[in-house]
């Protein structure tokens, strides 16, 4: 009886570890972020992602970027040397209320994502004259 119980517990354990093994860790794309008075520009390296695999969302103040890597490896291929693994990129940033979310532009070229986040008109910096008495 005791033996049977042990067996059941073991089987559950292997199932869990298999589920974790199936999920590959998401890759973190390196980014460049520039800013001027008009906009914030984000560039992200996401090689292997096509336009269809890209998912950019803004929810409240969180900008999340996801990109699925298109499978280009033939089915009968076996790995012989591997430096990277994973099938998607994920990265998120908090953004401030100054970003005009309705005018965000995204462009993907040769695996580089370019996001232009324009600033709303009313929050652009104004030059303040300092009066010297």
């Amino acid at each position: 009886m005791a033996d049977e119980r042990k067996d059941i517990a073991k089987r559950e354990e292997t199932n869990i570890s298999k589920d974790i093994a199936k999920k590959t860790r998401a890759l973190v794309p390196p980014v460049d972020i520039y800013e001027d008075n008009e906009k914030i520009v984000l560039l992200a390296d996401m090689p292997g992602v096509s336009k269809d695999g890209l998912d950019i969302q803004i929810e409240k103040n969180i900008l999340s970027i996801k990109g699925k890597i298109e499978n280009i490896v033939p089915e009968d291929a076996k790995p012989i040397y591997v430096e990277f693994g994973g099938n998607e990129y994920v990265r998120s940033f908090t953004i401030g209320p100054e970003v005009d979310v309705n005018r965000i532009q995204a462009n993907l070229n040769a695996g580089v994502l370019k996001l232009i986040l324009p600033k709303a008109e009313e929050v652009k910096p104004k030059k303040i004259e300092v009066q010297v008495a």
């Binding site: 390196p30 980014v31 460049d32 972020i33 520039y34 800013e35 001027d36 008075n37 008009e38 906009k39 520009v41 560039l43 390296d45 996401m46 090689p47 292997g48 992602v49 096509s50 298109e70 280009i72 490896v73 033939p74 009968d76 291929a77 076996k78 790995p79 012989i80 040397y81 591997v82 430096e83 990277f84 070229n109 040769a110 695996g111 580089v112 370019k114 232009i116």
Partner: protein, 152 residues
Amino acid sequence: MLWFDFADSIWNEFDKMQREIEELFDLTAPLSNIRSVSRGTFPVINVGETPDNVIVYILAPGIDPSKIDLTIEKNILTISAERDTTKDIGEDVSIDGYHRRERISGKFKRIISLPETIDANNVKAQYKNGIIIVTIGKKEEEKSKKIEVAIE
């Protein structure tokens, strides 16, 4: 005194906890493959093999394909190229400053050895979504062949 004495304080407990977590996740002395490259290596490369070809995948986003220099000599593959990450910003945008610059910019070169079964005269390369895909045929005699066994 250069540091505060945290012994017997609550901070000592936090420090112990942190050390335990670091040990648990191999953060202090990570175990890595002897061939693994450090984080931030550019470009990273994977190599695979099918019965007829050896395929090299080089993750090199944002490169002008005409500036990629790829050579194979015997079984040594050399890739060199240049990328200027500031060009991706575009000329219409005037940029005063940056918050992050994580993307690697400049000239790079990587050399990897491939299996000796490759036929260096039979190479195809394409650039797709920022990945350079190099397909190299195997020497005819190295291809896995189905051998018929005659039964007497």
